[in-house]
């Protein structure tokens, strides 16, 4: 081996590059890359909390969502809180849009859970300590056993003493502190014994929700929007049920929060009430629980006309209980579903596009210099850069999504640019220019690296803002760009400079 070649191979910059390359290839072989939903397929959901929350509350939201999705048997979930209002949920391996929509429904139905008896709230989702597997009997009756906290059990025992057959209500996201405007028939139904289980003398549903949740229910009698707004003073929101829909627009124009529930053919008044209140139940209080003795192990039972309905009712209650309570309501504000088959297409396509771009770089660089000794090192340095970026991504389990790939492209683009700067600086000392005072190679490399460091510094400065406090997809872009630039200035560019010096006989 020639002395020069040896010197090149033992240069620490070259050794560093080789070490990183080998390390990256080994990492990639042992730990395959993980891809984002937009490439591998799956569903990505963006949920927004009803109002901004602090970081502790946000953590509760994330934990609770995780629990509920796990309960559903969904795998490969990542849940990430971003800022004080956004939760990003990504679920891989979702193959149909029906499944995707089911996950969306689960997140949106995720709510604040209350247990109420006789107008008193005796427990919330926090008080549910354990939920057992639900059972369905051959007569299509079902039961969901669960355990409530000691405090809740004691409170309940006191409330329920001597009241067998009374209604126990469970609510998921009831419209707390609101004004409900309903047609007369619905008002009468709420104020009847319809929701009283086996206790006609218990307070009506209307009385119970008024006391427990500060919900005021009024009958619609052609009131104007102004009159309704006046009634709703001090309330958080207005729930309109089957009244003229213009009222919704008019009230919203007054900056009030309005929920509108239309009456639909085939939907009974009872169903509308249940939907508007998020009511589960009412369940009839069993004899055993009316004894005044606190009991933590309780169960909810019900019956359905057929097995499928029974299954659905039981599993709903099961999930509601199991997932605990959310401290704040979530709305799905964005959703993206990519089928896995398409994702596979994207992956091969990204690979081809990348290789083709690399070939193009090779050919164009050759065209400019008419010299393979420049074109091949430039193109292969770019390839090495990609390998190292990917190796690093695999190592830290970074999910490669399309914006991350765009970031890699950006890094490669600047990488090629900077290699051209190095090459031209090296070549600038040649024949035709020799008349002028020839700067030493060192000086010229110093100049090239000034340009490289200045542009790397600006890129990193610009991108770090994105990385630190932005939500959504731009994060992946910023991450790979910064990673690429760092790998470039620390590993590949110095090595390329050595190789170029060697090949161009300038050392």
């Amino acid at each position: 081996m020639k002395k020069r070649t040896k010197k090149l191979l033992f240069n620490w910059r070259i050794i560093l590059l080789i070490l990183f390359l080998v390390g990256s290839i080994a990492t990639l072989a042992l730990k395959p890359l993980t891809f984002g939903i937009d490439i591998s397929g799956g569903v990505a959901l963006v949920a927004q909390t009803e109002h901004p929350v602090d970081s502790d509350t946000m953590q509760l939201v994330v934990d609770s969502l995780q629990k509920r999705l796990n309960t559903l048997g969904v795998r490969d979930i990542t849940i990430e809180a971003q800022g004080n209002q956004i939760v990003l949920v990504k679920v891989a391996n979702v193959s149909t849009e029906e499944q995707a929509n089911q996950i969306k429904a689960v997140i949106e139905n995720q709510g604040v859970f209350y247990m109420e008896f006789n107008g008193e709230i005796f427990g919330t989702g926090k008080d549910v300590e354990y939920v057992g597997i639900y059972q369905i009997k051959s007569d299509n009756s079902w039961a969901v056993p669960f355990r409530i906290s000691k405090a809740a059990a004691e409170k309940f025992a006191k409330l329920a003493e001597g009241k067998p057959g009374w209604p126990v209500d469970m609510f998921l996201d009831p419209p707390v502190n609101s004004l409900m405007v309903v047609p007369d028939n619905i008002y009468r139904l709420m104020n009847s014994t319809e929701f009283n289980a086996q206790a006609p003398n218990a307070p009506t549903l209307l009385e119970r929700i008024t006391k427990a949740f500060n919900i005021t229910v009024v009958t619609y009698a052609n009131q104007s929007a102004e009159e309704i707004a006046k009634l709703a003073q001090g309330k958080d929101k207005i729930v309109l049920i089957n009244v003229p829909q213009e009222l919704q627009t008019e009230l919203e124009n007054m900056n009030l929060t309005v929920r509108y529930i239309p009456g639909e053919p085939g939907v009974s008044d009872r169903q509308i009430i249940i939907k508007a209140l998020g009511l589960y139940g009412p369940y009839s209080l069993g004899e055993g629980l009316a004894s005044g003795q606190p009991q933590q192990d309780v169960q909810i039972t019900g019956s359905a006309p057929d097995r499928l309905t029974a299954e659905r009712e039981a599993s709903t209650i099961y999930t509601v209980l199991k997932s605990g309570s959310l401290p704040v309501k979530l709305n799905v504000v964005g959703m993206e579903f990519i089928s896995p088959r398409l994702g596979e297409n994207f992956k091969t396509q990204a690979l081809y596009a990348g290789l083709a771009a690399l070939m193009t770089v090779l050919i164009i660089i050759y065209y400019h210099y008419r010299n393979w000794k420049i074109a091949i090192p430039v193109a292969s340095t770019s390839l090495f850069e990609v390998i190292i970026i990917l190796g690093f991504a695999a190592l830290i389990n970074w999910n490669l999504d399309l914006p991350s790939i765009a970031g890699i492209i950006a890094a490669i683009g600047t990488g090629v640019d900077q290699q051209v700067v190095i090459t031209d600086e090296l070549l600038s000392g040649e024949r035709s220019e020799r008349i002028t005072r020839r700067a030493s190679v060192l000086k010229r490399m110093g100049r090239a690296f000034f340009v490289i460091f200045a542009s790397a510094a600006t890129t990193i400065a610009a991108m770090s803002f994105l990385l630190v406090y932005f939500v959504g997809t731009l994060k992946g872009f910023a991450f790979t760009t910064i990673l690429g630039v760092l790998i470039g200035i620390l590993i590949t560019r110095p090595a390329y400079a050595e190789i170029a010096k060697y090949l161009l006989g300038e050392d």
Binding site: K2, I86, Q349, Q418, V451, A462, F465, V471
Partner: protein, 304 residues
């Protein structure tokens, strides 16, 4: 390829280099007033275009529903008419083709149920592959605000670093203005060519910061710090490097744009192409013009 001989000093053939420099020498001969004036005119035109025709916001910034069907070839207008009739809402249909795939994108207003659209589509095209996304306007607003803030902050960060590196107001301001003009022109071209402003294209605009700074720093360094050459020679050597840089990147982006059928990658590639074309002008004409003028006022003497 012949075996490389190490002793011999292999470099780009002089003929090639000479030809490139000759073809670029018209730039070197340009008078600096014109070099400053022309790009400013282009910048103003871009501003006017933006004022009358700002790029449309994509659904991720505005809210809405989009269903993509792969493996469908259909007349978009006819399909839009059919779907609008069946759904009762106005939809817009776009067709696209890639190397190995073609399909349609269906845009529907906020609140439309995407599964409804897919159900109707599946009746007509059972073998197609579907994806869908929907964004609520509230989230679109958040993304808009963040995108705007991202661009503004990245820009400011870039400006600060450029100032720190050059500590000289005129060249620094020119670099910053070049970046601004690159982004403005790219945005104006997006408007003209109907490319939507999305989080992905915002990312592309941010990427332009990196590319702009590269070439501008190269030029500024060569003209201000390289004292052994004449201004014209330094400029010519910088512009020839710059030409190599831009054509290489443009080539790679063009290939990316042709091969990919992912809308995200396509849009990023095309916005970068717009920006790089603008950058070529802004660096090698505008910035060079300003620097030539600056050097003629402040001859490069002892300190740079």
């Amino acid at each position: 390829m012949s075996k490389p001989k190490i002793k011999e000093k292999p470099t780009a053939s002089d003929a090639v280099r000479a030809r490139k420099r000759k073809s670029l020498s018209f730039l070197a001969q340009m008078e600096y007033r014109k070099m400053i004036l022309y790009p400013l005119v282009v910048f103003l035109v871009a501003l006017i275009i933006l004022a009358v025709h700002f790029p449309r916001l994509g659904i991720d910034l505005r809210g809405g529903v989009v269903v993509t069907a792969y493996g469908v070839s259909a007349n978009p207008d006819q399909l839009a008419k059919d779907l609008s009739g069946k759904l009762g809402v106005e939809v817009r249909v776009e067709s696209f083709t890639g190397v190995d795939n073609k399909g349609v994108r269906i845009y529907a207003p906020v609140g439309t149920d995407p599964t409804g659209i897919i159900r109707i589509m599946k009746e007509m095209y059972p073998d197609a592959e579907y994806t869908h996304s929907e964004v609520q306007p509230t989230f679109g607003e958040i993304s808009q605000k963040q995108g705007l803030r991202a661009v503004a902050l990245a820009f400011v960060a870039m400006a600060v670093v450029v100032f720190l590196f050059f500590r000289d107001p005129v060249p620094s301001m020119t670099i910053i203005f070049s970046a601004l003009s690159d982004m403005t022109i790219a945005l104006a071209l997006m408007g003209l060519f109907g490319i939507e402003l999305t989080t992905a294209t915002i990312a592309a605009l941010l990427m332009l910061i990196g590319y702009t700074v590269d070439s501008n720093i190269l030029l500024t360094t060569k003209l201000l710090k390289r004292k052994e050459d004449t201004v014209d020679k330094a400029y010519l050597s910088a512009v020839s490097t710059g030409f190599t840089m831009s054509t290489t990147t443009l080539g790679a982006l063009l290939v990316l744009w042709i091969i990919s059928t992912s809308q995200t990658i396509d849009n990023i590639a095309i916005v970068l192409i717009f920006g790089l074309l603008a950058d070529f002008m802004n660096t090698w004409v505008l910035n060079a013009g300003v620097l030539k003028w600056y050097i003629s006022k402040n001859p490069r003497g002892g300190s740079a």
